[in-house]
Symmetry: C2
Subunit: 371 residues, 2 copies
């Protein structure tokens, strides 16, 4: 008997059930070829068609302008913390970074090995943890940075940008010539993102896209070709772009799975359709937390992530009982990140609203019993 739970893991994370069913059905024989997708040469006609369709669907879903390349890489978001500066530091050798949580803090640390780093703002300095995005008017922006790095959704801290930084020639704006790089690992495809406002977007696949082991980079063509000479060839964006992500053997099965997720997303009404559902899911969960006397979320309302909802029990002695009861109710992987404690519910695209309703129902019941 197949059992399914509601899985709130922060990543690797829940995938759409129809996608898993199709992958299972096609495991031994993809469309009459007599081969699993895992067994296909990446240069064969069959896999090339899978690759091309995944790419085309992603471009359509995100309305990626033609002057942007989409790269399928390996190494995850953490890998990109090094690969981005290797490719984009260039002769200026200066990265501006906004620190809004643990991921951007890590990015700043790693980038410092490839050039100078200017932390233009660090939310933690205010003394209330990573609970907000510092106002752009207070960012100490450089005039001539190689790029500005932001993490537009902090998976651990649950802090999400509500739009791209303002860019232009006005005071406090990111100078027009400085490309904005965004780590979108944990909210890509969950909301409309205006790609044209960024020089480069990147993310590990294992939250809103597919299995771990695939990294996506979306980059404006004029930023290619400036890699540091020590950049490994397989991570030189220009080489990868010139070879349509086939410079080395790509993670073929992860690309296939991601392609199935893109098809599923199109059937959900694309990004607009899923965004409406994500807004509804987030409203349900934050609403229940705010109405409760037992649970709390500490992020400023404007900056609350729609994807990752960290919350705490005001009586932490109840944590274990909460998790054990959740497990019994088929609500899995709710334990908070080890660095912050408490709970975290990740409610990515593939989490159905029924899962959020079940969680809210369990929380209310738990509070009645223990409140």
């Amino acid at each position: 008997m197949t059992r399914r739970v509601f899985n709130f893991s922060a990543g690797p994370a829940v995938l759409p059930e129809p996608v898993l069913r199709q992958a299972a059905a096609e495991m031994l024989d993809w469309q009459g070829t007599g081969m699993s997708v895992m067994e296909m040469s990446h240069r064969g006609r069959e896999f090339m068609s899978i690759h091309a369709r995944a790419l085309a669907d992603l471009r359509e879903l995100m309305a990626i302008p033609p002057e942007y390349k989409v790269l399928f890489l390996q190494g995850g978001g953490l890998g990109e913390n090094a690969i981005v500066p290797m490719n984009l530091m260039g002769p200026k050798g200066l990265a501006d970074i906004v620190v809004t949580g643990q991921w951007s803090a890590k990015s700043a640390k790693e980038a410092a090995r490839y050039g100078r780093v200017n932390v233009v703002a660090d939310a933690a300095r205010a003394g209330r943890g990573y609970t907000f995005v510092p106002p752009q008017s207070e960012w100490a922006l450089s005039k001539d940075a190689s790029y500005l790095h932001v993490c537009t959704n902090e998976t651990i801290d649950g802090v999400e940008f509500d739009g791209p930084p303002a860019q232009g020639d006005g005071p406090g704006e990111v100078p027009a010539g400085v490309p904005i790089v965004a780590d979108v690992s944990s909210h890509i495809l969950s909301r409309a993102i205006d790609v044209s406002r960024y020089g480069c977007l990147f993310g590990g696949a294992q939250k809103n896209i597919g299995p771990a082991g695939l990294t996506l980079v979306i980059i404006r063509e004029d930023l290619l070709g400036h890699a540091h000479p020590m950049t490994p060839s397989v991570f030189d964006y220009k080489l990868v772009a010139d070879n349509d992500s086939m410079y080395n053997t790509p993670p073929t099965y992860a690309i296939y799975l991601s392609g199935l997720v893109f098809q599923w997303l199109r059937a959900q009404g694309g990004v607009a359709g899923i965004e409406a559902r994500n807004v509804e899911k987030a409203a349900l969960l934050y609403g229940a937390i705010d109405a409760s006397g037992l649970f709390e979320n500490r992020v400023e309302r404007r900056w609350r992530s729609r994807m990752n909802v960290p919350f705490f029990l005001k009586d932490e002695r109840l944590n274990d009982a909460f998790l054990a009861g959740a497990k019994d109710a088929g609500l899995e992987q709710l334990k908070g990140h080890r660095s912050v404690g408490g709970m975290r519910a990740s409610i990515y695209n593939a989490m159905p609203v029924e899962g959020v309703r079940a969680l809210v129902g369990y929380m209310q019941d738990f509070e009645r019993r223990h409140g």
Copy 2:
């Protein structure tokens, strides 16, 4: 209806059918957890158990000594062409490399970006292509190299070492203090390899192990900790080793699949059992080629790969007819690498002897009809 062909792809390549069946059956619900392995947190108890078992089975299959670490990485064999020198060049800054085919040639080229490279021998210089391993007595070995690099099975050229280079204080031997690094991508687990003779073994998984997107590194502990400061953290062998390959999110599903392959291999009698079958398969195919007037393999007999068998039709005008007839007979992906032309049959562990018999039968029939 599920159809299966005999798939001779050089990689990604055929996987054992029982492994694919199990993966399909467990796709939505791994052992009653209600989650696909793809959906599990890499730090959760369930995936940790999958990871630990895969590691233990691999250690047992290869009899890996305790002073060696096994790392699960990303980026494939080509990625390691950069990551190995970044980790192992150290202050000596000199890599000795034996070039026996296109893979080691690529490794030499990439390593030259991280230090000096001494090509101690290059089979191509003899003017008869990559058809043999130059005798070790002729290698121009450095006295004080950071490491010696060999590719012990050349996937494209079909040239395989029959054992590790001799090491010691005698003339022509690799100096005792120089670690030997071997790219074993395309023959790992296909034959006994004495790990203790090497400082480091590495390979992409997509030939004899599992799906593309996983890279294996087996490294002696004393070689850890000398990475160049520009090495991306996720590829710093010491950091990865200290974190049990969980420094970043590993390619979890590829590790799971590889673990199933390890279990299957144990059921085949381990490496000794599969090696006996590989010897039989190679003898069948090379025997048929050598007995034929139409087909030829150009590699010196001693150095013929048991895994990758390139062969040519003496009348190349028959190539298309050969491939079309093969496809009709359910024999897939036999076209040779684009750089060498002709045909190539990769007969990895998961290729049953029936597949080789079917190929040999087809070749004999084709020769009767066209010879």
